[in-house]
Structure formats: structure tokens, C-alpha cells
Symmetry: C2
Subunit: 418 residues, 2 copies
């Protein structure tokens, strides 16, 4: 079996340390490294300070074969990665003609003036292999030093991802001889982590050493991730499939998908397969359910539209709700949610209608209907199913959980239709 | 001036290393630490492996006064933080009666059965101060060792945040005597990072040593963050205000807000102040604009509703669009976007209507109207303003950028109204 390549991913920038932005780069990078059999063993963030960067480079050098840095390559004064790399490699910045041509072309193509700061972005450490950035002005850099590979990339996620996908990953694959690491994700909804664990304990205990299991809980869902390490892909893939086939019967009713499936992609697939169309009436989720459905490319094949009715007036006018029902039962009630799902299905002329209405918080609760009281519904030509959720007091969580539950209700109903 | 307290934040879990989930905990923790004058100097993630955890604890011990760990405290077999802390502190797990009572009560209150795995969650390292978790089953732990403080918290964001806010931050404040660190964020839209930097260069160069500037670019916005360090809050606050007053005239037309302002909170404030109401017609953004508007607590005071019209049919039926306009110009055109904004304003009876329509991708582009061709509009009783955006080829980015631009168009129009 080839030697396992270990990597560290380091983000540079005060904005991440001080918590002003969420770092999504390291997550993405480690996922991509996994697909080519490189295992990330540590991720770190340090600020825009030379000493902290030098220290982490020295430490990582002791631990791993590959170090990927992102950030600190912008044109502004707080970006110091390049200067620090020069100190680390004991070299200096020289103007790179290819990089200069690239950055000049970038501005010319966009008809924008180039500043002196932008020009200086083409000055690179003398020992680096220049990796052209076709998607922005900060260059990519590749260094080989003392048997390790160092890669430095811009922190802007779109530029970093484009550079990684198109240039760095192929180069890493050619450089290292790596073992095979395969993942299989089983996605469940509607059961807690420890209850899931009890159900599958005998299976989990019997897993072979080279297949590891992890529980990844999030908003009403728990993902089970199997990771297998070996030397050849095909038998390893078969082993994973055997394990999945063994565990599925224990948890079948909770499994909604595998790998990169999301509830919105699974319901999209079902709607497409069954040639059905969808309309949505949203109150407390305020457009979030629709935004999830339309995140999926090609959603226009089955999604016709939504009515977000925050004001009661709109519920009456656009959804055809009976004002009497609203007056008698209120906006957060079983009769209202039923009418909303049926009304939006009728108004937009689709096969299925789903609806949400409730008190997302932080205000608007009453002793009868506290914050977190939320109704959801799904109407088809067969019947209308309604459900009452009793959630917590946090607006963001209530919106996300409600979206999760109404998409799962939709999924369950779609499975019953031809 | 009191000694600066340096902290490291460490997340534990294969799910973060392998990239299956985004770590938002460390961002949140470092922001909160900053508010009590503790500076995060490094953030790291390691997997569920004892050696990696031990190594990072030893390293962090050399560098900082405070180490905060999250994750690896769940009931399942892949969670090993507690055992590893025992090895590190050379102690053992003992059943903690307070923790046991807490976890027993947690299940009793919810009418759910408690598993043996859950019971074992109450076994804690003998040297720890137990920090009760009222929001879940994994305990919080506080250790003092060799002049450092170690805090171990569950990885579930909601539980971690509740523990930090209510128990850990007050305890840290009492334990350490910390300097004052103040931040001021200036939020701009519609100007690139390097152009902004050129405009403010003389001001930036004249900043005193104890006030640092960072540029934080994201989706059509650039945030300028000033960080000031000192010993007393009031004069430091005044210094920051003086600096903001100096830089504002240079960039005034691009500034939409300060600190935690977002475009959606700023437009919400304007709508409230001017007693105006809002309706939204969304096509290519699919509900995302509405979801941003309704993220803001109290949005129901000014937001009446949206029509998400993915099918052309819905544009005609629900927005009252002239089918002739659609037939002649298509859904992605100036006449259509104008009619959508005016139509939704009329249909829902609000003071203002905004609209989006375009080709978000990845499919649906033509030579005439490639992916990324997107129209936005804002209709008021004064006039209707339309704008053509030429964005890129990535669906997610197109949706987010369009949302950004249409909210900024709305903001600009609101500023012209009484």
C-alpha cells in the first residue's frame, strides 16, 4: 500500500481569527484532498502576523508532507503571506513576468484601471512555481522544499476553488503516490444520535479496523459517515456497499438519502420521476423553503412558484383563504395551514402544495401559542396532511428546522404517490 | 495595562477534518472572546484521535493562557475527548452526581428513555469543575492546570453557545484581568477592495500603532474593520470614532452601515422609519431575497409578502404581467422586470415593490442572454428603477450577488423617499 500523505491546511488572516468571517475554505479543501487519497490531519488559522505564520510553517513541516495555505495574498497592506514565505524559504520577491501579464490582462479585459498595488501582486518568492489564477488577481504558488510541498492560494473562496480544481489537485495527484480513501454517507432524518447509535451498535462493533464510522448531527438530521482506507478502489468500494446493505434494514425508515443528497435534491428527484409539480405557501419561513428548493439546478422543471404571505391580507388575497377561518382560528392553526397548502396548490395549479405557518420568534408568542409553535402541511390530490411542530425560541433555528420538517413531509407524501 | 490573554480554540472531530461539516463554532467563540478582551491567536481542528489531541494540548500549553476545546463529547463511540483529557491531566473518569442528575432530568423532562450511553456522559475527569449544560446532555468542563485554563464544550453549536454565553464567559471575565479590545466595522457595497484601499491610503498610513485596519471582502461588499487595543474603554472608543469620522468623507457613497448592520437590517430600519411596506417578486433568486428580509426579527412590520414566480404562468396570473410583454421580450428583459416590480407592488398593495429575473445557471443561457444575465428593479410611487447585471456562471454566487444588488437598489431608492 502506498504511504499515506498527510496534509495540514492553514488559513491566514485576522478576519478569521477575530471571527468576522466564517472559514469555509478549509472544509472544502479537506474534502477535495480526501478524494485524491490525501488525509488532512490538522487545520489551523493564524492572524496576519509574520511570527505566527513562521511558527506554524515550522511545526507543520515536522508533521506532514503537504501544507496548503490560503489567504493573505490580497493587494492591501494587511496581507503579508508572500513576504513571510520569503523569510521562511530564505529568498526574496522578484517580479514574475507571467504573473504580471496575467494581472494586466485581468484588468484590461474588464476595462478597469490597474493600481500599483495590483501590479505588485505579480512579485513572487524567487523559488516558487507560479500557478496562474484565471479567476482573480492574486497568484497561486507551489513550493517544493525538503521533501514537502507547500501551496499558497488566495483566500477568496471562488478563486481558491477554481485554482484547486483546475490546477492544484491534478498537480498533487501527479506528485504523490497515495492510498485509496473512500467515504460513504448515509443520511437520516427524524431520529436522535444516541437512539441511532443504540439501533446499530452490533453492526458498528463488528466493523473491520480499516472502516471507521462517524455520527454527524445537524438540524433534525444525523449523517452516518463510513470511511474506508485501502490500496485498491474496487474491492474497497464493494466492502463499503456490503456494510451499507447490512446496516440499512436497521434504520430504513429514517434514511432519506446517501452521500451528497440533501432533502431538496431528493424531493426534486422524486418530483421529476413522478412528473409532479410543486407550489409553496410560506409564512413563518419567509421564503427559506423556496430558496432551498431553487438552490437545486433544474428546479424550474418541477417548481412553479411560491407565495410568501407575511400579512394575513395576502393569505386571503393570494391564497384564497377564507377570512372566516382566519378570524376564528388565527394564522397559526390547523384549519389555516390546511387551507394554505390547498390554496397555493389550487392558485398555482400544481400537483402538490406545501405550507408553513407559525411563530418563529423572538416576539409574537402567547401563552396558548408560544414561540416555536409551527404548523406545516402537504396537499396532494389524494389528501392533505398537517403536522404541529413544537420547536424552540430561536428564530434562525425555527426557520431551518421547519424547512427540514416540511421538506421531509413532502418527501414522505411523494413516496405514497404514483 | 493588564497583560493580554491569548487563547487557542481547538475543534475536535473527524467530521470537521474530513470536511463533512462547516465549523462555525470557532468563529463564534473568537468573536465572543474578543468582547471580553481575550485575543485568539490560533484556531485548530484535529480528528478523533487521542495522539493528535494530546499533541495540540501540549503545544497550546506552551503558547497561551486559555485553551477552549469543542466537540468529541457526544455519547457515541467516536467521541474521545474526555478520555484524552484524563490522559493529559493524568487522572481518571469518575461519575459526577450533579452531571448525572442533570442528564437524568433532561430525559425525564422530555419523556424520553435514557440509554446507558447517555448515563456515561455524566462520568467526568476527576480534576474538572463541572459546568452544567441545561441545553443538552454533554457536560461542560473547566480545568485549571499549571497557570492555564482549559475549557471543554460540546460541539453542537446551540449547546456550546448557550454554555459560553451563560456560564463560561462570565467565569473567564472573573478569572482573567484583560485589556480592552474594541472593534469598529465600516460596511461598504459597490466598490472593490483595491479601489477602496487607494482611496483611503493616506488615512490608513496615518493610523496609530494600536489601531489596526483589515479589509474583509465578500460578495459585492467590503468591510473595513478597525481594531483598537488599550487599557480603558472610553478614550479608546473616542479614538475609534475620530478615525471613523476622518475616513467617512473619502468613501461616503459606498457605506451602507456599521458593525453588525446587514443590507437587510438597514433596509428594514429605513422601511420602519419611513412607515413604508415592501413586496417582492422573485424569479431567479427563488425566495432567497425574501428569506434574507425575513431573517430580521420584526420584519412583519414592513414586509407583506412575496411571489416567487418560477413558471411564466405564475408571472401572468399572480403578478398581472401582460402576456404580450412576456411573448415579445421574454422573462429576462427590461419590460418584464419593470412589470414584475410594479405588478407585485400593485397585487400586494404595498408602498414599494422589488423584483429579480434572470438566468442563474448552470443551464438556460443563450448567446444573447448568457448565464449570469439578470435584471433587477425597484418600483415606488415616484418611479421604477431597473438595472441589468452581468454576473458569472455559478448559480449560488449569482443568487447571492443578485440579492445583494437588489437590496442595495432598494436601500438607495428608500433614501430618496420621504
Amino acid at each position: 500500500m502506498p504511504e499515506t500523505i498527510h496534509a495540514e491546511v492553514v488559513t491566514i488572516g485576522d478576519e478569521i481569527l477575530f471571527g468576522q468571517i466564517t472559514d469555509t475554505n478549509t472544509q472544502w479543501i479537506s474534502t477535495e484532498l480526501t478524494t485524491i487519497g490525501i488525509r488532512t490531519v490538522r487545520k489551523s488559522s493564524v492572524g496576519d502576523q509574520a511570527d505566527a505564520i513562521l511558527q506554524i510553517l515550522q511545526e507543520a513541516h515536522q508533521r506532514v508532507n503537504l501544507i496548503i495555505l490560503t489567504g493573505g495574498l490580497g493587494p492591501t497592506k494587511d496581507d503579508i503571506t508572500k513576504h513571510t514565505l520569503c523569510r521562511y524559504f530564505n529568498t526574496e520577491l522578484v517580479m514574475n513576468p507571467d504573473a504580471l501579464e496575467m494581472v494586466t490582462g485581468f484588468f484590461a479585459k474588464r476595462g478597469r484601471a490597474m493600481t500599483e498595488m495590483n501590479r505588485l501582486q505579480a512579485a513572487l518568492p524567487a523559488n516558487c512555481v507560479y500557478i496562474p489564477n484565471h479567476w482573480g488577481t492574486a497568484p497561486g504558488m507551489w513550493f517544493e522544499f525538503d521533501g514537502r510541498v507547500y501551496v499558497s492560494l488566495p483566500g477568496v473562496p471562488f478563486e481558491m476553488k477554481s485554482l484547486m480544481t483546475n490546477l492544484i489537485l491534478p498537480k498533487l495527484k501527479a506528485h504523490f503516490r497515495t492510498p485509496v480513501i473512500l467515504h460513504k454517507m448515509i443520511r437520516t432524518v427524524g431520529i436522535g444520535e444516541s437512539f441511532l447509535a443504540e439501533r446499530i451498535e452490533p453492526w458498528e462493533d463488528a466493523l473491520p479496523q480499516h472502516i471507521r464510522l462517524a455520527y454527524l448531527p445537524s438540524f433534525g438530521q444525523v449523517k452516518l459517515r463510513l470511511t474506508a482506507t485501502g490500496s485498491t478502489a474496487e474491492p474497497l468500494q464493494q466492502e463499503l456497499e456490503v456494510q451499507v446493505a447490512r446496516v440499512l434494514p436497521l434504520i430504513e425508515q429514517y434514511v432519506f438519502g446517501f452521500d451528497s443528497d440533501e432533502l431538496e435534491t431528493v424531493v426534486g428527484r422524486l418530483l421529476n420521476q413522478k412528473k409532479l409539480t410543486l407550489a409553496i405557501a410560506e409564512s413563518c419561513t419567509g421564503g427559506y423553503v423556496s430558496a432551498q428548493i431553487t438552490k437545486v439546478p433544474g428546479a424550474s422543471a418541477y417548481f412553479w412558484g411560491s407565495i410568501v404571505s407575511y400579512a394575513n391580507d395576502i393569505k386571503v388575497k393570494s391564497l384564497g383563504l377564507d377570512p372566516g377561518i382566519l378570524a376564528e382560528h388565527g394564522a397559526v392553526s390547523e384549519p389555516t395551514i390546511r387551507s394554505m397548502a390547498e390554496g397555493v396548490r389550487r392558485a398555482l395549479g400544481t400537483s402538490v402544495g406545501i405550507a408553513t405557518s407559525g411563530i418563529a420568534g423572538p416576539d409574537g408568542g402567547t401563552p396558548d401559542k408560544p414561540v416555536g409553535t409551527i404548523w406545516i402541511a402537504c396537499a396532494t390530490d389524494r389528501c392533505t396532511v398537517t403536522r404541529l411542530l413544537k420547536l424552540g425560541q430561536y428564530r434562525d433555528q425555527n426557520i431551518q428546522l421547519t424547512t427540514n420538517y416540511v421538506l421531509n413531509l413532502l418527501r414522505e407524501e411523494l413516496l405514497t404517490l404514483n
